[in-house]
Amino acid sequence: MAAPESGDGNNGAARMVTLISSDNTRFEVEAAAASLSQTLQLTILDGGGGGGDGIPLPNVDSATLSKVLEYCIKHAPAAANGGAPNATAVDRAELERFDNEFVNIDQSVLYSLIMAAHNLEIEGLQSLVAKKVADMIKGKSPMEIRRTLGFPDPTPEEQAEMNAHMLEYGWAYE
């Protein structure tokens, strides 16, 4: 893979690190991309993950890690430029297009991605997936939200409780 011109003073090939998913798949990725994870950043700065060693990620399976790294690789160049203040409108539009497409996924994949972004502390990804869930909630009735987010059907007791609570919060439904 061609190293992006990150301009961070590295000469020659970009440093690579290896990450190992919970199901023992090894992923080799540029250190700059993996460092979008606050959790991994210190280990990588300390020289971890290189050579034959890999960094084990016992909470992230290979399908999810592959998706997470797709995000990191795409966003690493902009992050290296300090949020890319001199990025062109075209670059920004391209990242936005990527992000929108990226979260257009099955709900169980989205769930795994949310948990991985949280565990790995990848701020941009955490916000992206949280916004996606917020968009799934926005403007919907409680029953529509329950269906969208995969709540089990309410028992009659729960339904009565919901109705009572809606009355109590009448001011939020005017």
């Binding site: 949310i114 949280h118 909630i137 926005k138 329950r146």
Partner: protein, 148 residues
């Protein structure tokens, strides 16, 4: 089946709600018992709406109720950001810096944005009163600034 959005930990749900307009966030309280108070701990509050002479009383009533619930209790959750953003004819902005009393003295930037047209209820005095309730120390120390 556990890999459902409805099973996400509370801290993530709070983050999700910070991306919603206040009305949508508050309404999640009826979803299930576990969601009842999640919205009151969301780190961000965003009140938006189209304000005209008919809706102004309703919006005002909503914000007052919201703040009553959100700020009640011995340890209301700290707000990192709070915005009152109303669609009106012209804009004003309020910016506040303040210390948070509930988080052991950690410094938090309160950014309050108000696009408020001068109308009978949601005029600057009203919005300032809401802001003062959200960030009492800052407002009383006079660090609020109003810019056009």
């Amino acid at each position: 089946m556990t890999d459902r959005i409805s099973a996400l930990p509370d801290s993530i749900c709070e983050h999700v709600l910070s991306f919603l307009p206040a009305k949508d966030a508050v309404r999640t309280c009826v979803l299930a018992r576990r969601w009842r108070n999640v919205w009151t701990r969301s780190p961000s509050l965003r009140v938006t709406g189209d304000v005209d002479h008919r809706s102004v009383g309703r919006i005002s009533n909503f914000v007052d109720h919201l703040l009553d619930v959100r700020l009640s209790g011995a340890f209301p959750a700290p707000l990192d950001s709070c915005a009152f953003d109303f669609m009106m004819q012209y804009t004003k902005c309020h910016h506040l810096d303040g210390k948070d009393g509930n988080k052991g003295g950690g410094e938090i930037l309160y950014c309050l944005i108000c696009n408020a047209h001068l109308v009978p209820v949601a005029d600057d005095a009203q919005v300032k009163r809401w802001i003062k309730r959200c960030v009492p120390e800052s407002a009383s120390s006079g660090s609020a600034s109003v810019t056009g």
